[in-house]
């Protein structure tokens, strides 16, 4: 079978970019690719990953608009939407196009924007990923997260402060990452005193939504040398289903990797999501994951918690971060021994997940 590679990546710092529209953000990520990939090959297809542009920015046909502005008219282009797992779905699409031989080089652009409206409107947009009745009844995804956290606390007999170490670790990683949104350290006291969002979850149990754009170049083997260090997309696993909050069962596949040699980015929408994901992937013991973070090279970006949570762009950021780690150029905390990479990109409340395995 033909092999598929990541040959370039760029990121716009996650932030409240009041001066940039969705199209400006996408352009900025494209400029990043032009600057970092010396011999940019002919692009055969553009896949745009966006989850909330239709609802919050009233923008449809984003892929056409972005491609046209970048001088890529005439190339196959499409927008892929799967909530906050859009990034995973888009990279999966690009991978399939290259693997099948339909395209040699595919540009994936993840872009989303939240800072144009007060958070009650953002919460409404994000909650539209819930099933129709839950959405109409006014439930938010954070309440689902809170119920997951309660279930985890019951099952493993831990209290709220068990989760503090996640936020502390994420913020400490983000301090070193120039692309991160919340670049300040936090301690247990700050977390314990932060506002309640949905009991028992506090502000520091929740990833902050912010604007971002990230681009990824996905290429066939003939073009793998574009990247000084070729990074192969070794496999992609997909999982979806109806989770059970009471028994803490979620559709996440096991990861067969050696943690010592693997750099990992997971979707920590809520601190409990991080625990559930690490345990379901088999990377930590059940009920103890947050206490065993020293054994894992996980979320050196700062994660959704502190790098920030740019909606449909998130999965593209995660893949970009792992790629840049594997070529040895990550500007933040480095996973020096890493030969392999793992990205888990999920929706907000863990009903669907993409698991990518990268090898250099």
């Amino acid at each position: 079978m033909s092999k598929v590679y990541v040959t370039g990546a760029s990121m716009v710092p996650v932030n409240r970019h009041y001066d940039m529209s969705l199209l400006d953000l996408a352009n900025s990520s494209l400029m990043g690719i032009r600057k970092t990939v010396e011999d940019l090959p002919e692009i055969d297809a553009v896949v745009v990953s966006n989850a909330y542009g239709q609802k919050l920015e009233s923008q449809s046909m984003l892929s056409y608009k972005i491609s046209r502005r970048a001088g890529l008219s005439g190339k196959v282009s499409m927008t892929v939407e799967q909530g906050d797992a859009s990034g995973g779905a888009s990279i999966f699409t690009a991978y399939s196009l290259v693997k099948s031989g339909v395209a040699k080089n595919v540009l994936v652009i993840g872009v989303d924007k939240f800072s144009d409206f007060p958070s009650k409107f953002v919460n409404d947009a994000v909650s539209s990923t819930l099933d129709e009745i839950s959405y109409q009844e006014g439930v938010t995804t954070s309440s689902y997260g809170a119920l997951m956290m309660k279930s985890y606390m019951r099952k493993y007999n831990v209290s709220e402060d068990y989760f503090y170490d996640w936020a502390i670790r994420m913020h400490s990683n983000a301090v070193e990452n120039p692309y991160a949104y919340l670049r300040f350290p936090v301690d247990r006291e700050v977390i314990a005193k932060s506002q309640e969002v949905s009991t028992p979850m506090r502000l520091f149990d929740i990833a902050p939504r912010a604007d971002g754009a990230s681009a990824l170049l996905v290429s066939s083997e003939d073009y793998s040398k574009i990247s000084e260090v070729p990074v192969e997309i070794d496999s992609i696993d997909f999982s979806s289903g109806e989770p059970s909050i009471s028994s803490l069962e979620f559709p996440i596949k096991r990861a067969n990797v050696n943690p010592d040699r693997t750099v990992i980015e997971i979707s920590d929408t809520f601190s409990v999501s991080a625990a559930i994901e690490l345990e379901a992937m088999g990377l930590a013991e059940r009920g103890k994951s947050i206490k065993s973070l020293d054994q894992l090279n996980v979320n050196y970006s700062g994660g959704l918690k502190a790098r920030g949570y740019p909606g449909g762009a998130t999965g593209v950021y995660q893949a970009a971060e792992v790629y840049i780690q594997l070529i040895g150029e990550f500007p933040g905390r480095k996973a020096k021994e890493a030969e392999e990479g793992l990205v888990l990109n999920t929706d907000d409340v863990l009903r669907t997940s993409f698991l990518f395995h990268f090898k250099r």
């Binding site: 919460n123 109409q136 309440s143």
Partner: protein, 137 residues
């Protein structure tokens, strides 16, 4: 600007689920989905029957939510429960008529309540919330 819009056809169409807790029971595998559908979500069979659930259940636990959503500001803080319905399915739904988190294991029942109001013409949307009827079995 984003406003809260209620579409009468949308609400009318969802009346079975918004007002009555309609469900779909699979004649092949027995699975119950808490909405109307032509297919079973578990086995994909189209041999399904429409049933109405009793609306009674047991509260597993709940959360007190302070995060607002446009259109639902008046029900803040909002209590949301994880409920095991008597017929088996587990659902997440808002609780009503409570001032603090109810006891785990409380018996609850579905009641009709106002959900939200259209921000331009005042149309009201109603739907089900769950009310505590006793502290436990």
């Amino acid at each position: 600007m984003i406003t809260v819009r209620i579409s009468p056809p949308q609400v009318w169409r969802a009346k079975q689920s918004l007002y009555k807790l309609a469900a779909t029971k699979c004649n092949r595998c027995g699975n119950i989905d808490v909405y109307s559908s032509a297919f079973c979500s578990k086995c994909g069979s189209n041999e399904v029957s429409s049933i109405n659930l009793s609306g009674n259940g047991t509260l597993i636990f709940s959360t007190k939510n302070f995060q607002q959503r446009a259109g639902y500001e008046k029900s803040m803080p909002q209590f949301v429960g994880l409920i095991k319905l008597d017929e088996g399915p587990e659902i997440v739904a808002p609780l009503t008529d409570v001032d603090e988190e109810p006891k785990e294991g409380s018996r609850v029942t579905a009641v009709l309540r106002k959900l939200t109001v259209d921000s331009s013409n005042g149309l009201i949307e109603y739907g089900l919330k769950f009310k505590v009827i006793s502290d436990g079995p």
